[in-house]
Symmetry: C2
Subunit: 514 residues, 2 copies
């Protein structure tokens, strides 16, 4: 990654009778020399042309120019005097259904300047994509959702700029990665046909748009690159993730799994990519268990059970008194329960092994993870048999998707050179636990690579990488989207995966029940 | 000229589960097949994307698309159902300092739909370019001039559309040719540096702009091609003229002369082009004589003097009673006066030959062209010695420019295969008269080709020709601009040309004084 390739300082020859090219053409000629050949067309917005004579003469023909590249075409997105000390700024946006994360980047040096996150204000309309799409059926509804996210972003752009001592007009380029619905609502595009067979987005490759046209408070000539999608269920966030992971450049076959609101998986290497998404059964996020919640202070994120004493060692975020459990905590817990014999290979609680931690509430078995006297809520934190059943279905769905995808291309899961796990979930999950319950394949641990918010990272990379536009297009065009066909074969594999770690325990040699 | 190459009817495959490309990408793929390969990028405006799902489904995936081409890039500038009976319209504009002419063109069939002309409303600020540039020194002044021409155009677009049974939103493409100052004011660009050494325009190649950005009332996705200029004194109007004349494609060397508010000349062939403009002394337009005026009803446009009787045969436009004389009339008159011996080779009135038509007013000799009793004004229409002296200087300047330009490239004026005369002036001028006074070289008459409003014609061609953008750029880039150096040599040639037809009468073998 070469940082900030598209900020260029140019000194133009001053006009003379022998060199009386126009201002704009003089600037374009100077930039063409400063850019890698062949530079292609360089565009200036009309409003920039209107200011140009004054600016060139004020700065004595010595300028710092920020450029935006879209294939063979450049756009001048910002100009200042060559001595300008403020950085030219770019903004990467992970446009999540639940949470929106912004990172301000110094385009001059490539480094991050500030980050800011906010809850997607569209959640006021509905927490999930489907509710929002229904709300957008009317033009007013669509406008409402579009305004919510644009206003939210503008507010956040103000905040992230302030944090860096800058202002929104300093932002020359934006890069936005999100799922297909979120990017549609961001652009004010009708999402109606995304959820109706045969599931058609308005656009797959939005390319570069003017920030001003979108209503985004940024520099007057700023451009916005919206990541392309493959279809309704395979969004730009995942393409950004692939870009960041480097999966598409790897000679060895690897896999990228993003478990957010939806489960999305891409398998491949520099020669081919195959992906699938959605229809993955209950998400492995907070929603699985009754006491589940998103990561935050006081939320259980790690669990260990001492083999000797049977003591539960429960870790919470910021070590606050426990109030709930997040995805990674649940997987740890399930793995520990399984390895210690407290649940059996079907995920059922074993009364003899659980002892007094087993309680029956409303006829349903519960295991007390944190007793009432130690919890933040004053009530027992428990996991029920239903929670465990649900987790087993989820882990089975995940494994079956991985297996199906790998089988489709004739790759054994054991052959994967890298297993990238994206998302907040991916950052905290303990692969050993995920393997123990048979959610992820039994690979050497070092092949598991958590890559965090890969959507944001990919969006940031697109701002600073020289060939981002082409690379993103290449990724998009190379992915084969596998429509998961939930047929008898799939269901057979799914049933086999509903055991811990698997009906075929030979697939998980590292997993030994104590 | 292949008409209307860029209106395409496409029938897109309806979406299915196996073909679930997005709406925009489906349309782009369909268009790419309908366009000559390689089609390059095809852009859709954001506002079109916002309407697209509804439009595609309303028209059942059968569309008529209007495209605008800018090098390897296409923009979709209009869509309608495939069965739309209204033509897709383009608008060619000759943006004159004095007069603005619009021609509405059927992009589907290539033919003209209607024409409309109006006086450039900027004339209220000043009749000439210089006054307007001074007025534009302040931002308010510039805005004022910009608003005047944009409002004037919008009004005229309404009128020309009404005349064709259309509406402004039907206009998908515009093509604007004008001198450098007029196009700057049209785009709202600072003209300040055009008139100050070293004479720098804001832009030489404005390329394609969004009509909406310019405030032009046309289709929401319409694009405007503004003809490029070579510099402050060589505008897009002349480049449009070259495009129309075909000078740049001719194997034999030819010349194009445009005498409007300024005198502009281009000499060349398909291998090279050389041009010069301005500094041509008094224009050969209405301004030369006291009784001069622009062509219109009652204006003398042709004069003959019967060699036998000496009777003046004066023709007026629409044969109304005479009230003034236009440029072509003045040249006819001067030629006839010279050929009949009423003025001598220095252009001086010969008392003996003029007889009672000679009058002295305020100590200055006048020749009565139309006596008071026959004129529309009730006063004698006369031409004064001062008028004649001015005409002689103008014709000498014109000839000297032609001679200098030809000499510079070592071409004899006699070698010119075609002599294109552009402008209203060019349409009415009698080449025989212009030769008689030595304004134009003594070529066989059939080589003189009046080409009318070549700026408008070139602008129209740019709307309907397949490769207009490249062709225009090629013309622009190929012209060598000759800065007329008014040195001793030039002055010597000018002095020699101040005789009728010339000091060296051998250059004008066809001219015989009766």
């Amino acid at each position: 990654m070469s940082a900030a390739p598209w900020v260029r300082c140019v000194t133009l020859p001053a006009p003379t009778l022998r060199n009386n090219t126009a201002d704009a053409d003089r600037l374009i000629a100077g930039l063409a020399q400063a850019l890698p050949a062949p530079a292609g067309a360089i565009d200036l917005d009309l409003d920039l042309l209107r200011q140009l004579p004054e600016l060139l003469r004020r700065w004595d023909y010595r300028l710092r120019c920020t450029l935006f590249r879209e294939r063979d075409r450049w756009t001048l997105t910002g100009v200042s005097g060559a001595d300008e000390s403020r950085p030219a700024a770019g903004l990467a946006v992970d446009l999540g259904t639940t949470r929106v994360v912004l990172r301000l980047i110094d385009l001059t040096g490539g480094g991050p300047l500030a980050e800011h996150a906010f809850d997607n204000p569209q959640a006021a309309v509905g927490p999930d994509v489907l509710t929002r799409i229904h709300h957008a059926e009317s033009p007013e509804g669509l406008r409402h959702l579009n305004t919510l996210i644009i206003d939210g972003l503008n507010h956040a752009i103000g905040a992230v700029c302030r944090a860096a001592g800058l202002q929104p007009p300093d932002v020359c380029a934006l890069s936005v990665a999100g799922n297909t619905c979120m990017t549609h609502l961001f652009m004010g595009l009708v999402p109606r046909w995304i959820i109706r067979e045969p599931y058609i987005p308005v656009v797959n490759r939005p390319g570069a748009l003017r920030a001003a046209d979108l209503g985004i408070a940024a520099g007057p000539f700023a451009r916005v690159r919206v990541f392309p999608n493959i279809g309704s269920y395979f969004g730009g966030d995942l393409i950004a993730g692939i870009l960041f992971s480097g999966l598409h450049r790897s000679s060895a076959t690897a896999i990228l799994v993003d478990v957010g609101t939806n489960a999305e998986v891409v398998l491949g290497n520099r020669d081919w990519l195959i992906g699938c998404a959605g229809a993955a059964g209950p998400a492995l996020e907070s929603g699985v268990t009754r006491m589940g919640m998103l990561a935050g202070p006081g939320v259980v994120d790690r669990v260990a059970i001492d083999p000797a004493t049977g003591r539960f060692d429960v870790h919470t975020i910021e070590e606050k008194p426990p109030k709930g459990i997040c995805g990674s905590g649940v997987i740890d817990l399930a793995a520990q329960l399984f390895l210690s014999g407290r649940i059996d290979i079907r995920g059922k609680l074993v009364a003899a092994a659980c002892g007094e931690r087993l309680k029956v509430v409303d006829g349903l078995r519960h295991l007390v993870v944190v007793p009432a006297e130690k919890s933040a809520t004053g009530a027992d934190l428990t996991i029920s048999q239903a929670d465990l059943d649900s987790l087993v279905r989820s882990k089975a769905a995940m494994y079956t998707i991985l297996e199906t995808l790998a089988m489709t291309v004739g790759v054994g899961l054991g052959e994967l050179s890298r297993f990238y796990v994206a998302g907040t979930f991916g950052c905290f999950i303990n692969p050993r636990s995920a393997i123990a319950i048979g959610m992820l394949p039994d690979l050497p641990l070092e092949r598991y690579v958590p890559i965090g918010n890969s959507s944001l990272e990919g969006a940031a990379l697109a701002l600073t990488s020289a060939d981002a536009a082409e690379e993103i297009d290449r990724i998009r065009d190379r992915i084969t989207y596998l429509e998961l066909n939930v047929n008898q074969d799939f269901m057979n594999r799914f049933s086999a995966a509903k055991f811990l770690p698997h009906t075929d325990a030979g697939r998980f040699p590292s997993v030994t029940v104590r």
